[in-house]
């Protein structure tokens, strides 16, 4: 499968999910807008996935165990 076909398949799969959840609220014009947004999300995700990281690269996000006083 070519890169373009890969992208298209992923977009269609994601769009099917969105349509299943919200399709009843969307007219054709809105659905076309959602498709454009999904295409952007898929392109961004593929750009992220293309960068290799190591096991040690943790999410840059603080989490601290919580305990109320005392």
């Amino acid at each position: 499968m070519s890169e373009a076909e890969d992208v298209r398949a992923e977009v269609e799969a994601m769009l099917a999910l969105v349509r299943a959840r919200y399709g009843s609220r969307l007219d054709a014009e809105q659905l076309a807008g959602v498709r454009t947004a999904v295409e952007g999300i898929v392109q961004a995700a593929r750009a992220l996935r293309a960068v290799r990281l190591t096991n040690a690269d943790e999410p840059a996000q603080p989490f601290a165990a919580y305990r109320s006083e005392p």
């Binding site: 994601m14 769009l15 999910l17 969105v18 959840r21 919200y22 609220r25 969307l26 809105q30 807008g33 959602v34 947004a37 999904v38 952007g40 999300i41 898929v42 392109q43 961004a44 995700a45 750009a47 992220l48 996935r49 293309a50 960068v51 990281l53 690269d57 943790e58 999410p59 840059a60 996000q61 603080p62 601290a64």
Partner: protein, 466 residues
Amino acid sequence: MADDVVFTPVRQLAERVRARRLSPVALAETFLDRLERLGPRYNAVVTVTRDRALDQARRAEAEIAAGRYRGPLHGIPYGAKDLLATAGGIPTTWGAAPFKDRCFDFDATAIVRLDAAGAVLCAKLAMVELAGGMGYRQPNAAFTGPGVNPWNREAWSGGSSSGSGSAVAAGLVPFAIGSETWGSILSPAGNCGLAGLRPTYGRVSRHGAMALCWTLDKLGPLALTADDCGLVLDAIAGRDPADPTTVERPYRYDADTPTGRCFRFGVLRGITDGAEDAVRENFMRSLDVLRGFGTVEEVALPDLPYDDITRTILFAEAASAFEDLIESGAIAGLTAPEDRYTAYARDAILAKDYLKALRLRGVMAREADRVLAPLDALVAPGRATVAAMLGSEVRSAIRGTARDVMGAVGNGAGLPAVAVPNGFGARGLPTSLQFMGRAWEENTVLAAARAYQAVTDWHRRHPADA
């Protein structure tokens, strides 16, 4: 009161207030009158807080008369973006029709701190609905109408702190508080010819501010000068137990720059690619000015998908922050047609991809710091274009219709930046110059911006019909 207080920087107003040559009550009356009279012209105001303002101004006047001067914001009017909670029956609308009558019973920490500094809240200012988090494509994306630019009333004031930008630029308040998730302080500052400061993430408490993206949202000032931004940051910065992302790094604004200081500036390779001609030309002229008190060198960041990293984080967190509004279908009540459905697409973001963006953010933050470490600031155009026209589509890095590496890195890595005006472009609209520094280096970027403003006069020009 004579209109000589309008377009006067906070620093100078404060000197007159302190010396009791300027009455805080008269000052408040002047700006309240302008907010009520001129605010509608710019769609800049949601609520004029006249009663609260006059109470605060009378208190300030009495305290100063009694010798209890609190500092440079004492008795100074200001406006707050309408995503900061305010008590006392003053609505906090988030710019969104579904919330236009909603009130909180407490003040946001930033408001509390400005109260403590003696500042006088005169208005809650208009903004793009939900701070633009639902994917708006054009200026008419607030129940108050599109933010109108005082330099050209057919142009946009910028988003999402649109009222904060137009109110200061039109002389309706001496300073305002805005918020930035990606571009929402620097964009209206640039569009309206103002100084706008985006503090380091964690510098200013977000308690009581609408959450758009927990790991990206920052609060900061828009004002006439970089110096004024420093005065305001001094009042609102600091640790807040109610916002665990704030840090124990006490901030004091340092307005003194050693004479003869030589700054070291960096410019990212290709940073003006895609910029309008006037933006590029004004930026090149600005670099010549900067060489008068510093060095300018070209630098490079490694090739990473910066825009995609920050965009993915923003979309995922905004979809979660507004899950109820989206899932319930209540977004149908928003003003911009595209805001009524675009967020549905964000169900297509996989958790693994969001986490990848957070992992890459760490790499991005380290690389940005490596590049910035030997520099005082990276400099770049504040925006690649002048303000969009009211009826046109807005180019946006958030939607992927423009590139904004400085914004993606600066917001993704939580770095401070200040934008100041550096000329004019098409249709008489301002262009801007931004200084971005290492984390917690607000004083450094403010010093650089002050040095630029000391030898230029763009910040002394004001719209003709304001």
